[in-house]
């Protein structure tokens, strides 16, 4: 693979808001949901944002299309040779970008207006953006989109309440793709679905990516799902990216202690791979009350004084041919001490 230029280039994105209290709305603290996050997404790839609650992964995703207004940073979106900063756009230009960067939401029950038929739901973005002019045209397009997500076009006159969760997510995907976007931001698209349905949707997303050369930003808390879906993975903790690399690097050579903890904590559906689980490894601190220095220091088994005082920057580890960035003062020591996924095969 030769040099690929990124289609999305996020630089120093931050999202902070004040926590207010009472009648006079006095500020009692500041919540930093996203803190100085930078990453790029290459055309045609899937970048996964992984983290637990409070990691800021969802906020980051939403900031890219300004569903939430970030407080600082740049989001450069490239179309052909020109590139725009999404965060600096006026309403009209923003809507143009939003046609090309679309979202799939987590909850297919909440993201579809219960008062619209499937036809209306899927045709809505087409009408708004003047892609179709009359109903006949719209219906033809809706039918095509429904077939694309493997639903019977005859069902288009029904309302969403008659569909199961998986079918609704298909409708939501059809709606998202109706404007032929380049980038899809998928926010936990399968976590509200039954186990037996998840794989259907994951495979569908992959298939559509292949057919339409889509670029995905895949937001998830589930490393197992991410392993099947993504080319590169960014691990987030309390608003910051702590590690970012290719999928294989993250799974085979996790450098950050938090990545290692996540891997060691994820259950494996194989009783022969049972691991010794530590019973007390703490939990994610309140985002309004972030620890100083490295935010992970309160839970990190290796933490030293520097971890408590100095925020580690995301740096190239230089350990492999592929880019592998990690934000840890001690990663070299840590790397030697723990290899979570290898240790567990030891029986």
């Amino acid at each position: 693979m030769t040099e690929v230029s990124p289609i999305i280039d996020v630089r120093n994105l931050s999202m902070k808001f004040d926590r207010v209290k009472g009648f006079r709305r006095s500020v009692i603290g500041q919540v930093v949901a996203v803190d100085d996050v930078s990453f790029t997404v290459n055309e045609g790839e899937t970048l996964a944002l992984v983290g637990e609650s409070g990691s800021g992964k969802t906020t980051t995703g939403r900031c890219l299309v300004r569903a939430i207004e970030p407080s600082a940073g740049n989001v450069f979106y490239r179309q052909g040779d020109s590139s725009v900063d999404v965060l600096a756009l006026e309403r009209r230009e923003l809507n143009e970008v939003r046609r090309k960067m679309r979202m799939v939401f987590q909850d297919p029950f909440a993201s579809l207006n219960p008062r619209m038929t499937v036809e209306q739901l899927i045709a809505e973005p087409l009408y708004i953006n003047n892609v179709v002019s009359d109903r006949t045209e719209a219906r033809a397009k809706v039918a095509e989109l429904l077939e694309m997500v493997q639903l019977d076009p005859q069902l288009m006159s029904r309302y969403p309440h008659t569909f199961s969760g998986g079918q609704r997510q298909r409708i939501a995907i059809a709606r998202t793709l109706s404007l032929e976007p380049q980038v899809v931001i998928a926010d936990e698209p399968v976590s509200a679905l039954d186990v037996s349905i998840q794989a259907q949707i994951l495979n569908l997303l992959k298939e559509l990516q292949r057919e339409r050369q889509l670029t995905y930003l895949f937001i998830s808390h589930d490393l197992a799902v991410v392993r099947y879906q993504s080319d590169r993975i960014a691990i987030m903790y309390l608003g910051r990216i702590v590690e970012i690399s290719t999928r294989d690097e993250i799974f085979e050579r996790p450098l950050h202690p938090y990545t290692q903890l996540l891997l060691a904590s994820s259950p494996i559906p194989d009783p022969r791979m049972k691991r010794i689980r530590p019973e007390t490894i703490g939990e994610v601190p309140d985002p309004a009350n972030r620890p100083s220095g490295c935010a992970f220091n309160t839970r990190c088994p290796y933490a030293t004084d520097i971890c408590r005082s100095e925020v580690p920057q995301l740096k190239e580890s230089g350990t492999a041919g592929e880019a592998h960035l990690v934000a840890c003062h001690l990663w070299e020591a840590v790397e030697l001490s723990q290899r979570p996924l290898e240790a567990l095969d030891g029986s």
Binding site: E52, S53, S164, G166, Q167, D194, V195, S196, I197, Q198, A199, Q200, L202, N203, H221, D222, L223, A224, V225, R227, Y228, F251, L261, L262, L263, A264, S265, S266, P267, I268, P269, D270, P271, R272, M273, K274, R277, P278, E279, T280, I281, G282, E283, V284, D286, L341, L344, D345
Partner: protein
């Protein structure tokens, strides 16, 4: 283990819900046993009846439902108590509920009253059921407090002397979950029913709760019925597993057999469709279709509409009954030898 008498025996349990279309079976002729000091995992998707089964053991079903058939035998201190065919507020049920069999739920916030400290709420159960006789009022108070602190310490609370006086909203999610488990253990039950206790938790917390429950099981010699939709969690914690689908028992096996020698096509399909963080990266093979509505059950085997191994004229005509194919391994599938009713097939 097999030599022991089961602690709990559920025989042909059926639970119906009344709806406008008539009675709907949420649980249909389910049988299983729970042995002393064992973790039985109950896996199923939404609509499988896994939660309803556990609610009927404690006789706390919602008002619109009732036990239509079957028996539940609970062996306790040398006597056997039948729980299914007596009034839900009768003496035997009340002597068991919350004391000998207790339950913890998915959402720890709603299990606690926001108006009382967690110490008060846990202490109440101790004061009611677990005090040596002949204590004065002040001695009782001290004893309850001491036992509560011990209990909180046993579930891994770092500073139980302080946390005992906090209100539920003051605790973090993880601490709340621990407090909930402590409340479930207050009366030293012989069976703990845990209904999706880790589903609402982040993965690093989930891992800690699994470790905690595993330790408590061996320390307190209690049995656990662990209900979840997550096969990974099941593999980590269960000794034996009951797989349910649309109210029916599909397969019961030891956890090793279930993952390494699954017999039911549903179990096999579930495992194939599940992403995992370890092992080979094959494409996921999803289970096609959606879970049918309980109001509109398929004829024959419940899984027949989605089964890749369906035999037409058999599976869609007759409903297979569960048979024991090896010691401790029960399957309800004609392909594994469930008896075909006389004159049943078309050929």
């Amino acid at each position: 283990m097999m030599d022991d008498l089961p602690l709990l025996e559920v025989v042909d349990l059926s639970v119906t819900f009344s709806s406008r279309e008539g009675e709907v079976f949420a649980v249909d002729k389910v049988s299983f046993s729970l042995f002393p000091n064992e973790v039985l995992g109950v896996v199923g998707e939404s609509g499988s009846g896994k939660s309803v089964t556990s609610l009927s053991i404690l006789r706390v079903l919602p008002a619109s439902s009732r036990i239509a058939n079957g028996s539940i035998f609970f062996r306790d201190e040398g006597r056997t108590i039948e729980l299914a065919n007596v009034d839900s507020e009768s003496e035997p049920v009340r002597s068991v509920r919350g004391r000998r069999i207790s339950m913890i739920f998915q959402e720890p916030m709603s299990a606690f009253s926001p108006l009382h400290t967690i110490g008060n709420q846990i202490g109440e159960a101790i004061a009611l059921h677990n005090l040596p006789p002949g204590l004065s009022r002040s001695q009782r108070k001290l004893e309850v407090r001491k036992q509560t602190i011990d209990l909180l310490a046993s579930v891994g609370m770092p500073t139980p002397e302080q946390l005992i006086d906090s209100y539920p909203h003051e605790l973090s999610g993880g601490m709340r979950q621990r407090a909930l488990i402590a409340m479930g253990l207050a009366c030293h039950p012989s069976i703990l029913i845990a209904d999706e206790p880790t589903t609402a938790l982040d993965v690093t917390l989930q891992s800690q709760v699994i470790a905690l429950l595993s330790r408590l099981r061996s320390e307190q010699e209690m049995s656990i019925i662990f209900i979840t939709h997550n096969l990974g969690v099941i593999a980590e914690i269960a000794d034996r597993v009951l797989v349910m689908y649309l109210g029916r028992e599909m397969e019961t096996a030891s956890v090793d057999d279930l993952f390494h020698n699954p017999k039911h096509p549903y179990t096999r399909a579930l495992i194939r469709s599940m992403p995992t963080i370890a092992g080979t990266l094959d494409t996921l093979i999803p289970i096609e279709g959606t879970v049918p509505s309980p109001n509109n059950l398929p004829t024959g085997c419940r899984f027949q509409t989605r089964c890749p191994e369906r035999v037409d004229g058999l599976c869609n005509v007759h409903e297979p009954v569960s048979i024991e194919i090896e010691p401790g391994h029960r399957v309800a599938c004609f392909l594994s030898g469930s008896p075909v009713p006389q004159g049943g097939t078309n050929d």
